[in-house]
Every structure is written in structure tokens, then in C-alpha cells.
């Protein structure tokens, strides 16, 4: 994907500007100049003009949960291909998880990731490991990692299995101010499970992962967060039980935020029938009652973030029998289209709420400033067309991965790309 340098002045015409923080939602024109928003409702002529034909322009989306695989697993994804997938999906920034090889448990590695990402407009904010080598034995140098640029801490892909260590990590989060992102899973309850434990796993003969595995671990971490006063963020909430525990903790004033993935909002364990390994991830696709509960969690605003848990894998790791396949599914290039079509168009989400879930909630969870559409503001914008019809085809993705559980879905609403400072990056060529 080529990055395109914007002209010094560019007028975006017929743009539907939405910024829920500014109560803004109208179709007008927007003048950007030298990487900044110069004027809304601009009537300026004699400049370069890009007619957006009603595309939505909103504050840039931030994917709080992606796996970029570099260093260590470059045949699955690299920082650059991940950034391109992000831009194609309408994300101007991402937070990358530290389950690389080596794990991001060292300040030098955090700085290295940030440097690698600097040549492309999508900002990459590393999440550092909570424990050295993600082994759940000793804490990383959290203050140093934070100062090097880590925005949060997580052993994602695995839980911090020691409750004592999790307690200390949450205590330390009071010092750094950066949250501990928990991958809440009781590994002893997961066992060799490959999918959600239910009548579907029984029918398919696949070993099950009970919802208990997530519920028990979530309750533990919520209690530890309450006791320590630390900052906790729940990654990929997938069960009604974990949601209920979250809401109880929110009522008690616990400093906790939570995210949900598009696949847990739109798919259930029934998607595993047929043994497509793209449907294998952690936490697994749950039951219909869990799925419905997650939508309610969004509308009650207990869950304030949509994050994709973009987890690319090579064909070698996925084109095998189901129980042997790696856990993880792609997310960045489908998230917006899926949520616009099956969320906003289906009447489950207001457009402004969708933007908050992709832009504001995730940044607030890690304390990053939120881009605003106002004169003088820095340009960090997502552009997508709410009427464009398309069919999901993983073979066209910018990500190296092909493990997409939504292959063949027909959607209305498609990301075009991002404007970031002086640059455009996206799947669409700008016309000006």
C-alpha cells in the first residue's frame, strides 16, 4: 500500500462529518491544511478538491487489540502489513500485543516496535508484557517500559496465572497509570478445549472450553482490581457471566474498562459446524445467549470498546484438523463493515455510538487523547462509505493472514482509509 502525500490545502467535499464529542453529524465540506483541520463548512474554491460522495469522515479509529506478529512470526504478519491492514480497515492507530518472539518485555523492544512503525501513518502503540517472557513468574520493569512508550500491560494470549502476581501488577498500574489488560482465562478449566463447550461441541466431538474458564478468571481479576485500586481492562469479553461480573464491579466503582470483538458480537458456536479453523479463537465463539448479552452490554455502555483481536496465522498453522489449528482470527479489515452493516444498519447501534466504540472508548481505556473534528485540530480521521456494497474476500486483504471467519459475507458500508497529518493511507485511491 502506497502512502499518499496530501496537497498543502485539500477540500473534502460532500463529506458526512460525524464527531459525537462535538455533537456533529452533517454533510458538508472540510478544509484541511498542513496536517490540520482548517475549516468546517468551508466554501473555499481554487484549491484541490476531493468529492467524497457522502462518505463519512470521523475521528480516527483505534484498535486496542491487535497482533502484529513481529518480531518472531513475520510469515504471519509484519508491523508494516499490519499497519496496511489497519489503514484498509479505517484504523488510524493500533495497540499491538506483546506475544511476539521475543515477547515485548524489554524497553529496547518497545522502542524498536515504535521505530519500525514510524514510516507509515498508522500509529502503533505497543502493549508490554506484564511478566518476563510472559511466563507468569516475575513482573517486567513496568515503569521503564511505560516510559519507553508502552501504553498498557498484558500477557495476552495467556492469562497471568498467578493471582499474587496479578495483584502486584495491578498495584504497579497505580504507579504507571497504564492499565493491565487481562486475557481472562483459567487454563485448568480450558484444558485441551478447542471450541465453546456446549451441545455443539458435543455434536462435533470437539473438546470444549467452558464459559466458566472466562467467568472464573474475570471475577478474580475484578476482585483484585477492586482490592488494589489498580486499572484493569478486560480483553475480548465473550460470556454473559463475565459481563455480569463487569457490571457489578462498575457499580462498585472499580476502575475497569472492557472490549468486545466483532466476531463475538456476530458469530456463535454454530459457526464451528463444518470445522472451519478460521472460527477457532480464544475466547471461543460462544452461545447465542452470550452473543445477545454482549449487544446489551454495549447498549448499556458497560462495554465501551470494540477491538478486533486481529490474530493472523499462516496457512500451515490453520489448514490442519480443527483441534490442531492455532487460535485466532483476522479482524481489522472487516470490523467496520461488519459493525456498520449488522450494527448500525440493523438498528442496534447509533452511528455516533459506533464511532465512540471504535474511537473514543479504546483511547479512554488506555488514556490516549482522542482526535476531534474542530478547526485547529490535528488531522486524524477515518473515512468510510456507508452505502458501499461489498463481499468479504480474505484473498484481497492487506494482512498476510487469510484466517477470516466472515469470508463471503455481503456487507453494506466499507472503509476507504485514513487521513493522518499530511498523509492518506487506505484501500481507495484519493481523487483530487
Amino acid at each position: 500500500m502506497e502512502t499518499i502525500h496530501l496537497p498543502k490545502k485539500l477540500l473534502l467535499k460532500n463529506a458526512r462529518l460525524i464527531d459525537p464529542a462535538k455533537k456533529l453529524d452533517r454533510t458538508t465540506s472540510l478544509l484541511i491544511e498542513n496536517g490540520k483541520i482548517a475549516e468546517i463548512d468551508s466554501k473555499m474554491s481554487g484549491t484541490k478538491i476531493w468529492d467524497l460522495n457522502g462518505a463519512i469522515v470521523c475521528p480516527g479509529f483505534f484498535d486496542l487489540h491487535v497482533h502484529l506478529r513481529e518480531p518472531g512470526f513475520e510469515d504471519a504478519e509484519t508491523i508494516r502489513t499490519g499497519q496496511e491492514a489497519a489503514a484498509a480497515g479505517g484504523f488510524s492507530a493500533v495497540a499491538c500485543m506483546p506475544n511476539t518472539k521475543p515477547a515485548l518485555d524489554h524497553a529496547g523492544l518497545i522502542r524498536w516496535v515504535i521505530e519500525q512503525a514510524a514510516s507509515f501513518p498508522v500509529a502503533v502503540y505497543p502493549v508490554a508484557a506484564v511478566t518476563r517472557e510472559r511466563k507468569s513468574q516475575e513482573l517486567t520493569d513496568m515503569m521503564e517500559l511505560h516510559q519507553a512508550g508502552a501504553i498498557a500491560f498484558s500477557d495476552d494470549g495467556a492469562p497471568v496465572s498467578s493471582s499474587e502476581l496479578m495483584r502486584r501488577a495491578l498495584e504497579y498500574s497505580r504507579l504507571t497509570g497504564a492499565p493491565i489488560i487481562t486475557h481472562a482465562e483459567d487454563l485448568s478449566l480450558t484444558g485441551k478445549g478447542a471450541m465453546h463447550e456446549s451441545e455443539v461441541s458435543t455434536r462435533l466431538g470437539l473438546p470444549g472450553i467452558p464459559s466458566l474458564s472466562e467467568d472464573v478468571a474475570t471475577v478474580r481479576d475484578l476482585m483484585l482490581a477492586e482490592y488494589t485500586g489498580g486499572r484493569l481492562h478486560l480483553a475480548h469479553v465473550s460470556t454473559a457471566g463475565a459481563l455480569e461480573a463487569l457490571e457489578m464491579s462498575l457499580k462498585r466503582g472499580v476502575k475497569v474498562t472492557a472490549e468486545v470483538t466483532p466476531h463475538h458480537l456476530l458469530l456463535t458456536d454454530e459457526a464451528v459446524v463444518g470445522y472451519d479453523t478460521s472460527t477457532k479463537m480464544k475466547p471461543p465463539l460462544r452461545s447465542e445467549s452470550d452473543r445477545k448479552a454482549l449487544w446489551e452490554g454495549l447498549s448499556r455502555r458497560a462495554i465501551t470498546c470494540i477491538a478486533t483481536d486481529h490474530a493472523p496465522h499462516t496457512c500451515e498453522d490453520k489448514d490442519v484438523p480443527y483441534d490442531e489449528a492455532a487460535f485466532g482470527a483476522l479482524g481489522m479489515e472487516t470490523a467496520l463493515g461488519l459493525l456498520w452493516d449488522r450494527g448500525v444498519r440493523a438498528g442496534l447501534l447509533a452511528p455516533g455510538h459506533l464511532i465512540e466504540l471504535f474511537c473514543h472508548g479504546p483511547r479512554q481505556a488506555v488514556g490516549l487523547p482522542v482526535p476531534v473534528i474542530e478547526a485547529g485540530g490535528l488531522v486524524e480521521l477515518t473515512v468510510f462509505h456507508p452505502e458501499e456494497t461489498w463481499t468479504v474476500d480474505a484473498n484481497q486483504f492487506y494482512s498476510k493472514g487469510r484466517n477470516c471467519p466472515f469470508q463471503g459475507w455481503e456487507l453494506i458500508g466499507r472503509p476507504w482509509g485514513i487521513l493522518k497529518g499530511d498523509f492518506w493511507a487506505g484501500r481507495v485511491e484519493p481523487e483530487f
Binding site: 451441545e199 458435543t202 470437539l206 470445522y275 490442519v320 483441534d323
Partner: protein, 317 residues
């Protein structure tokens, strides 16, 4: 293998991956064919030329004696060319993937693949990637359709009709592909099915499959016309699902003493190999109520029927 039998007869698929969703008509087609072919096994020269020129590979990724020998014998009786492939000493133990194994089979122009694999869905995985006919000889805890069919044939011989029959499946239901294929087949033919296991070996949501669920073996015995007693894998105890084999034998083992308490003695099936003294007492296994050796004979006939119906242009018996 030019013609596709599934076009003109009652077969819904060119593969046999499982009994889930199979109609009574189709199941009976397999059973009737097996009944006819069984006669070959009693001839002085126990061989027919039906599968001459058909190449069958027996791909056994998981240890198996009974099923492998039964398939092999069925193939030999039908004059097929046979290749055997088992996990030990093969390319699989050198790290070859199932996909590469499949591609090699394809390159060797094999007509029929009989696969036993530890992963649920493995037979379907091959069927989606090969031109060959795929016969599932057991995939993980999913299905073991030829075992299901041979159990049905055995029950049909014993009772005449399966409709309305009460069959209790007893033991490690959670990890059992035999239980699954049995219950689908039995339900399709109109039997009532009960599963009976310790709660730790009862799969979640099994009642959604339309079976009665029971945790007391004496209740199952009193209710059933036939008991299908599952083999207890000894590693279940290591996994902490059972306190001890002794405890299991005491609470779930089928003994003569237990059977004598029932008003009528149920017919006893077991897919083998048996752990005598654990899930089944020797006195029960060797009793007049046992049809365990009939199952073995029927196993060969059923596998012949499956091979014939799936892999020949015409039935030649």
C-alpha cells in the same frame, strides 16, 4: 469408479463421514446390503470379485486393532487392492501434515480412503480435499459410523425391528464417537435412547440430541432392552475424571448381580476392546445375553456393504 452411486440409489453422500442426519431409508440400505453380503463370509471360498481393481488405503493415525482388521478383512473379501498406513514408522511420525498425506494419496490415485484419526472432523477434512471416497473409521470424539451401523445390524438381528426399542448407552459418553453414531442411527430408526454416565463423563448439552440422561446404572438396566457398554479409556482416570477404576467398576460396571435385579435381562453390546472387570464383568461379557461376538462378525459385513455401496459401479454379489 466412473459412476456415482449416490445419484441413483438412496445414498446422500459419496462419502461416509457420520450417521448424523442420515435417513432411516439410507441406513436400512446399508444394513440390507450387509445382510446380503454376510452370506459371503460363510462360503467355503470367502471371496467375491466386486472390488477388483479398486485401491483402498487404510489410514490409521490412531492405534486400532479391531477396526483396522475388520476393514482389511472386508476389503480382502471383496478383492480390493489394499494399502495400510499406520502412524508408527510412517511419514506422519516424521511431522508430515494431514494435508500433505492427503496430497500424496491423491497423487497415487487411490479410490477409497478409510481414515481413523484422533481429531474430530479429520475425515471430513480429507473428503473436502480429495477426489477419493472417504470412509470415516473414527474421528476423535465425533463419529464412528461403521460401528454405529454394525451395532444397528446386531440389534436388528436380535430384535427384528429397531423401532420402539429401548437402548441405553453406558459409560464414557463424553469422549465416545461410538455413542454418537449409535444414538443418531438409533434415533433415525425410531429407537428410544438413554445415555448413562458419571456426570464427569457426560457431555454438555447431550439432552439436546434427543436422548434421556441418567446417572444411575441400575435405572438404565431396568429401563433398557439392550445395553451398549462403552469402553472406559484408562487415561480418563489420569485426567481426574474418575476417582479410580475400582470406584468406576463399583458404580458403573455391568455385573451379573446388577442384571439379575432387572425383570428382563437386556441384550449386551460392547464395541471392544473390553476392560474386563472395569466396565463389564467377564460373566456378563460371556453370558447368553451378550452379542459381542456377533458384533464382530457383523462388523466385517457392514464394512463390506459400505465399501461396495460407496465404491463400485454396480453391486455384484
Amino acid at each position: 469408479m466412473s459412476s456415482d452411486r449416490s445419484q441413483d440409489r438412496q445414498l446422500s453422500s459419496r462419502h461416509l463421514l457420520g450417521l448424523e442426519g442420515m435417513s432411516a431409508e439410507e441406513i436400512n440400505y446399508f444394513l440390507d446390503t450387509a445382510e446380503t453380503l454376510k452370506e459371503v463370509l460363510d462360503r467355503p471360498i470367502k471371496k467375491v470379485p466386486t472390488l477388483r481393481g479398486v485401491t483402498v488405503v487404510n489410514l490409521f493415525f490412531e492405534a486400532s486393532t479391531r477396526t483396522r482388521l475388520s476393514f482389511e478383512l472386508a476389503e480382502k473379501r471383496l478383492s480390493a487392492d489394499i494399502m495400510n498406513f499406520s502412524k508408527t514408522g510412517s511419514s506422519v511420525s516424521k511431522g508430515e501434515t494431514l494435508l500433505d498425506t492427503a496430497r500424496n494419496i491423491e497423487a497415487m490415485r487411490i479410490d477409497v480412503v478409510v481414515i481413523r484419526h484422533q481429531s474430530a472432523g479429520a475425515a471430513r477434512y480429507l473428503a473436502e480435499r480429495l477426489r477419493s471416497v472417504v470412509i470415516n473409521a473414527g474421528d476423535g470424539a465425533h463419529e464412528h459410523p461403521t460401528q454405529g451401523l454394525l451395532d444397528l445390524l446386531t440389534l436388528r438381528q436380535k430384535f427384528g425391528d429397531i423401532k420402539g426399542l429401548k437402548v441405553a448407552i453406558i459409560g464414557d459418553v463424553a469422549h465416545s464417537r461410538v455413542a454418537k453414531s449409535n444414538l443418531y442411527g438409533l434415533k433415525a430408526l425410531g429407537a428410544e435412547v438413554m445415555v448413562c454416565a458419571p456426570p464427569t463423563l457426560m457431555p454438555r448439552g447431550v439432552d439436546a440430541l434427543g436422548v434421556k440422561v441418567c446417572y444411575k446404572v441400575d435405572e438404565a438396566i431396568a429401563w433398557a432392552d439392550a445395553l451398549n457398554i462403552l469402553r472406559l479409556q484408562l487415561e480418563r482416570q489420569e485426567a481426574g475424571l474418575l476417582p479410580s477404576l475400582r470406584e468406576y467398576a463399583m458404580t458403573f460396571g455391568i455385573t451379573l448381580k446388577r442384571l439379575e435385579k432387572a425383570r428382563k435381562t437386556p441384550v449386551i453390546l460392547h464395541p471392544g476392546p473390553m476392560n474386563r472387570g472395569v466396565e463389564i464383568e467377564s460373566a456378563v461379557a460371556d453370558s447368553g445375553a451378550s452379542v459381542i461376538l456377533d458384533q464382530v462378525t457383523n462388523g466385517v459385513a457392514v464394512r463390506m456393504a459400505v465399501l461396495v455401496l460407496l465404491s463400485t459401479p454396480e453391486v455384484m454379489v
